[in-house]
Symmetry: D2
Subunit: 328 residues, 4 copies
Amino acid sequence: MFDIALIGAGRIGRIHAANVAAEQRLRLRYVVDPMAAAAREVADGAGADVATLDAALADPAVKGVIVASATDTHLDYASRAIAAGKGVFCEKPIDLDLARARSAAGALGGADVPLLLGFNRRFDPHFRALEQRLRGGSMGALETLHIISHDPAPPPIDYVRVSGGLFKDMAIHDFDMARWLLGEEPTQVYAAASCLVDPAIGGGGDVDTARIFLRTASGKLCVISNSRRSGYGYDQRIEAFCAAGLVRADNVRETTVEAWRAAGAAADPLQNFFLDRYAAAYRAEMAHFADMLAGAAAPGVGYADGIAALALAEAAGRSAAEGAVVTL
Amino acid sequence: MFDIALIGAGRIGRIHAANVAAEQRLRLRYVVDPMAAAAREVADGAGADVATLDAALADPAVKGVIVASATDTHLDYASRAIAAGKGVFCEKPIDLDLARARSAAGALGGADVPLLLGFNRRFDPHFRALEQRLRGGSMGALETLHIISHDPAPPPIDYVRVSGGLFKDMAIHDFDMARWLLGEEPTQVYAAASCLVDPAIGGGGDVDTARIFLRTASGKLCVISNSRRSGYGYDQRIEAFCAAGLVRADNVRETTVEAWRAAGAAADPLQNFFLDRYAAAYRAEMAHFADMLAGAAAPGVGYADGIAALALAEAAGRSAAEGAVVTL
Amino acid sequence: MFDIALIGAGRIGRIHAANVAAEQRLRLRYVVDPMAAAAREVADGAGADVATLDAALADPAVKGVIVASATDTHLDYASRAIAAGKGVFCEKPIDLDLARARSAAGALGGADVPLLLGFNRRFDPHFRALEQRLRGGSMGALETLHIISHDPAPPPIDYVRVSGGLFKDMAIHDFDMARWLLGEEPTQVYAAASCLVDPAIGGGGDVDTARIFLRTASGKLCVISNSRRSGYGYDQRIEAFCAAGLVRADNVRETTVEAWRAAGAAADPLQNFFLDRYAAAYRAEMAHFADMLAGAAAPGVGYADGIAALALAEAAGRSAAEGAVVTL
Amino acid sequence: MFDIALIGAGRIGRIHAANVAAEQRLRLRYVVDPMAAAAREVADGAGADVATLDAALADPAVKGVIVASATDTHLDYASRAIAAGKGVFCEKPIDLDLARARSAAGALGGADVPLLLGFNRRFDPHFRALEQRLRGGSMGALETLHIISHDPAPPPIDYVRVSGGLFKDMAIHDFDMARWLLGEEPTQVYAAASCLVDPAIGGGGDVDTARIFLRTASGKLCVISNSRRSGYGYDQRIEAFCAAGLVRADNVRETTVEAWRAAGAAADPLQNFFLDRYAAAYRAEMAHFADMLAGAAAPGVGYADGIAALALAEAAGRSAAEGAVVTL
């Protein structure tokens, strides 16, 4: 059993704490958070101690550190944990600034460093099943890819302002998904974006609606569809068009219940909240972290993946601003 | 091209007239109906003549006769057409009285008589595809069968009173479907019925809601579900449970359009009217009649099938009345 | 937090142990099982102690007892726990013998006794959503009900022999579901059953395929469909036909992935194992037990429900054996 | 009843001849085609005469002319029919050359000229139902639009060579659909295209796979997905993302039959052939032409629509060739 220190006792930190508790090979030992009450609450619920980061890193029994703090601390905390010889599970994004993220590559991106970057959707059972079908070969070569990722409703405008913008905050997941499924790096990016949902978002210089196009060197095409507001729940779909047909992953509904009436059949709503929709993904991600600490698996998604997704987000932002295709 | 005489210029007669017109091998020559205006209208629309039954049967150019008149005339008109050497396409039911229908078997049921009985659902492309899957063998032996057949809304009470009752008027289609798909005669019938939809139906001694159970000698089980009112359209589904899995035919919607909203996804309604739902079946049935007249096909469903379905309807009525299982 | 004693460290006992661990208001204190190694393993995993039943019942800190032992011990253990003043969560069936179960009603069925009977499907989120739609009233009165409950594949023949037979072992869940949803007691039962799946099951005097009809005093009709083998996974569906339309709960798939090819679209399989399909139901059931112990809820399903379902199972068995309708 | 002259007795001409026959208000009077045998066959099947174009246009009884000849004759024949005072139903595209098409606008595009351009998909009942939902207003403003239009398999390479290329031959339908649904003209076009299906298509300077972006002045975004080969049938879907939710039209299957097995559920294939998939659209289009001739309807899609779609196709081709966004 591996002792774990958790940095960050906010919403996503609590999810990870619960998944550490449910994972037999892991035990939560320390919770680190400047908000003492939050740290205490999470620690008490798990039989762990509140500690400073220095104290947690100094304990040789701690084998893994989960970085779930504010985005602008990710690089610093992950670097310190790596330096202390701990396995690291760092939430996405690695940073909002591409140059800064790249400059930390020496410390964080070494091949021998077990750093897992929290692109949780790679661990979603639906998308994973899709990926396995693609890899299985029976569908022929992947040619084009559609990713739909629409939020149910916009986050608070205060969050939007510090989020890094739609491309770095929201599309970043889809850039990672695209890279994972395409199996090849995009070489061209074109992004068209509008502010159609909430003028306040546009007022802050951001967009709320985008379509992003990626092309790889071999000519594979990918379209990413993003919106801050769907009006019908959390729309998370993928369609992979292959030489021998189509593989698709559809949305997940709250229940299978339908009511049929004269006006037609009405199905229950989509799973609406990302923590519900991706609950299984977060659990599987934690099991993968345990595998990593046990030496049974290399990180399924690492530092270089974070850099690559961030580079695509920057390119998309530039393309949308300039109205032109960006070549990487 | 075969000349055709149509007896009956009512709703179903007009469907057949249109399908004769669309079938290149057939030409409507005569329309027979005591309602002169109706006969005239159908004849004019098709370039045919109005005639008496005797005159139509006396024309040697007439090769086929379609009997689409009132139910109590089916046996008489079909017998006369057969006696005149015409091929016959007779609407269901063959009669409402089992003994009378059986007594006509000598005249009508001979193996060499090309009589097609209008169990149109056997020609529906969905049910036909299901049947071909069963016959194809890849699903293993059929073990149990569910047939759902619910009308959108009850017919006028005046129609119900002369209809012969739910078992002979409505379930008769399902008895034929069960016999066709089971590939084996039922030996036991149990029917449970209630009047839940409209007390006026119960007041006339009929029922509006039924579940019917059939068992064959080899132990295959079948459940038929009937209702005079679904509230959500014309519910016509079949599930065939086989040794290697399930084959099912689902309902047909008016369009594939769905609207997704916060409350869930709403699909367009079912095809609601039996003449729409089974339009392709009626066309295919007429093409089959042309095949018969050309000597290219034996009747896909004949007089003996009408007798057998009627016998099941009588047994079901008896079972429901007595609350007991009826052995055939 | 309530201390819990678990009797039975087998498959279902382990499920309950995990759900006790995940439920914040409960703590597993004792594990009781004559198989010492199994008891030890479950206890160690939960930080609990192995104990005898007497010792566990003697501890006043224990507020709840979970009876997950062999069926023929349910009545005895539940009675002893009740006598010791503990809240009881007893696995189904209450017993295989209706007379014996009824004779224990004095000890177990009192209105003030907090006994929860483990009909887990009432806690399934899909069926619960369906039930709420029915209760909500917008669908009008429930008229007829279809329950499909087919296992993926037959259990080992040794299990079948001691199971009490298809009606008491398998259909018992569906009888409870029917009573819950109909909101009215069935007064007539007819069961048709065959041995179509495995002759060894028939050789032991049991059946593997059944269709069961229920009718209530007001004329509501219910059909239950049971099979020991579907060939396509765990088929668990409900259709409730109401005055204003249909409410249905469909099967749950492993993932939403589909592959579209020239031959059509292929969806991923159904959730195949009952512990997966009903995992959420088992969790919700344990939360309900915690509510009961906290005095916040009366048992959602109790002793009298167990008796009623068992009575229907006996009646169905009699009907199938005699080939006749049984009136209750 | 209006007499009709049909120019062109090829595949699409025969479809129109059959729909004229089925439309009570129209009668096929002349068939014009340099291939005498083809003209004769179509004429005989409909009781019409073979004629030269001049003779057909000279007959004052002819009220409507259907231009279903080779693409490079569309402008000439349509102009001559208009000059002769006939109502015209002209197949798409109006021409392959934008400048030439525009130069004919004076003769063909006048507001008082009843010319119907054959963008048949506007008459498809599924897409029409979707359009009515959008116009109905209950979904809120349309914001973004996805159109998927993938052929089952590439046409013969000889056809591809004279087709005008993917954008003018295939995407032209989707440009018209986009304009119709967006209710606003696109002002920017970006097209990314590859040759992934068949190198012979690329060898001829064409592409077989494309993703096209459109943006309107108000910021609405549209993505069109085209492929010459799906591998799974004729994929024709539309998703319209609105302020209040999503309206979508899905593919049409050959039948509703599904086979459920251990590996999952397999549905019957998509309707694979465009003449099957759009059979109802072609019929509705002909009924609309009859409405036009009767003065009961203005053309639902006219010459200016053909020009606009062709301009988008040219812009898309330029964008793909230059790898840059094209502003209209």
